[in-house]
């Protein structure tokens, strides 16, 4: 019997059909013609082979538009691969954009249940977590008011607390450490580190290279939708940093 990895990608690729997407977006503006095929498809990711083992924390580094976010979306099951295959085992938590799924006409408690339902967490579990989530979000008396009356910070704190309320097997993180004020940021950082330690596998997208090097065990570098480096976090990140510096010098 073959060993099951928590995450395994075999020749996976995701493409965007440029004809269907009429809105001009950041992604279109960074498009290079080499990533368009003859049918006008833009390959955000192509030929990705990656196996994440039990206990690994993988940092994903690369320039804007290299495909980091698309990789996370594919692992989360939000985007399906257009070629190759993706397999993720166990429950998944995604810390992509906090506050996803909130309805501004509902109050905090109702939103917690709504987001829990979107995530597919049983409502009995979610109901038990409500006091803890409200406490961590620290929104005080606003718990019974509609979310539309919240400040953006309160919204972000509530979103973060909901997203991190359940311990996942596989954790996907996309730079959410910058949530809220300084005090909350420290609390959030501690909570993420705790989740990372307990998860079976973590994929962590970041531009904060120093923190990635400090707690990730492995790193991959994406460039133009392909993996160009894969290895121990410290050496891959060091090589990437050196490359960035060379590039900065070259352009100046």
């Amino acid at each position: 019997m073959s060993v099951l990895y928590p995450i395994s990608l075999k020749g996976a690729g995701v493409r965007y059909n440029m004809q269907l997407k009429r809105k001009r977006s950041l992604r279109t503006s960074v498009t290079k013609s080499s990533r368009l095929d003859d049918k006008g498809h833009f390959w955000a990711l192509r030929d990705i082979n990656l196996e994440v083992q039990e206990g690994e924390t993988v940092a994903v580094v690369g320039a804007n538009g290299a495909g980091k976010s698309t990789l996370l979306l594919m692992l989360a099951g939000i985007l399906e691969p257009d070629e190759g295959s993706v397999a993720v085992y166990g429950s998944i938590s995604t810390l992509l954009h906090v506050g996803a799924g909130f309805n501004s006409e509902l109050n905090a408690e109702e939103n917690i249940l709504l987001v829990g339902a979107f995530l597919g967490i049983p409502s009995s579990v979610m109901k038990k977590r409500i006091p803890e989530i409200l406490d961590f979000a620290d929104i005080g008396d606003f718990a019974t008011s509609e979310v539309r009356t919240y400040s953006s910070g309160m919204r972000a704190r509530l979103g973060f607390s909901v997203a991190t309320a359940v311990r996942p097997d596989v954790l996907l993180v996309d730079e959410v450490l910058s949530t809220g004020d300084a005090a909350f940021r420290d609390k959030a950082r501690a909570r993420i580190l705790n989740l990372i330690q307990k998860a079976r596998a973590v994929v962590y997208v970041t531009h904060d290279l120093d923190s990635a090097a400090s707690f990730c065990t492995r790193a991959i570098e994406l460039e133009g939708g392909k993996i160009v480096a894969d290895g121990p976090a410290k050496s891959v990140i060091a090589a990437y940093q050196a490359k960035m510096e060379r590039k900065a010098k070259g352009s100046s």
Partner: protein, 284 residues
Amino acid sequence: MANASLRLTVGRSRRGPIGTITETVKSVIQRRRLLLYLTVSDIRKDGGNSLLGNLWLVLDPAVQLAIYFFLVGMVLDRQQPAFALFLFSAILPWRWLSMALVSAAKSVRAKDQVMRQIAFPHIVLPIASLSASSASFLFGLVPLCSLYLVYPERLTPWILSFPLIGVVQLLWMLPLAILFSALSVFFRDISNLLAHALRIAFYISPALFSYDRILEILEKRPPARLLLDLNPMAWILTAYRDIFYEGRSADWGALLGVALASIPFTLVSIYLFRRMAPSFPKVL
């Protein structure tokens, strides 16, 4: 190894049509909570910020009834006994159809944010929108029933059979809601076209006139007769009118046929939706 017991959460291989349909139906049943929460918040959203709040659920159809009552009944002076009841027994279900389809068409597009951030079966969106519209249809029964104060002689126990007709109508609205919600992700124009298509369909359905009257008008045009018979809403509206206005049993045999005919459409719409769904987060 410990993780061998873990369930595959992302990356199920693509199945054939039947597998796709059963898998989709199962995923909706699993997310029935989400369906409930979305429905409730959808109903509340409409009344949330207005002065009279959810009272509008009753007021809207009542005002519409009043307009038709005075305009068509008094100004145009139609020679139809109990005209308000005649009209409203068909206009109310038609209102349900048109409002449900127009809001279902927007239902997937409106949730673009959450679709890019959470993986969930997108098909719950049109279904939740449809159930919210159905709830507000039930409130419209209040003005309809209050008409029996004006025409007490038309009140018969047959009106209690309306849920059966409602189910048949719902069976036809489901595939349309699913299909339009998916198509309007790719073609924004669907919402505009839908409004006009519904208006045309309104006039070729027995809403303002009875089925027999339309037949008289169409007598010289046999293809139009076929069109009328192929229109499920023609059968459904006639059934509503039978129980609410004529005070007699609806043609249940015909309704059963109409209900059964919806099944292939529903299956096809679920399959097509599921095949289009992977593109939603990319296009929006």
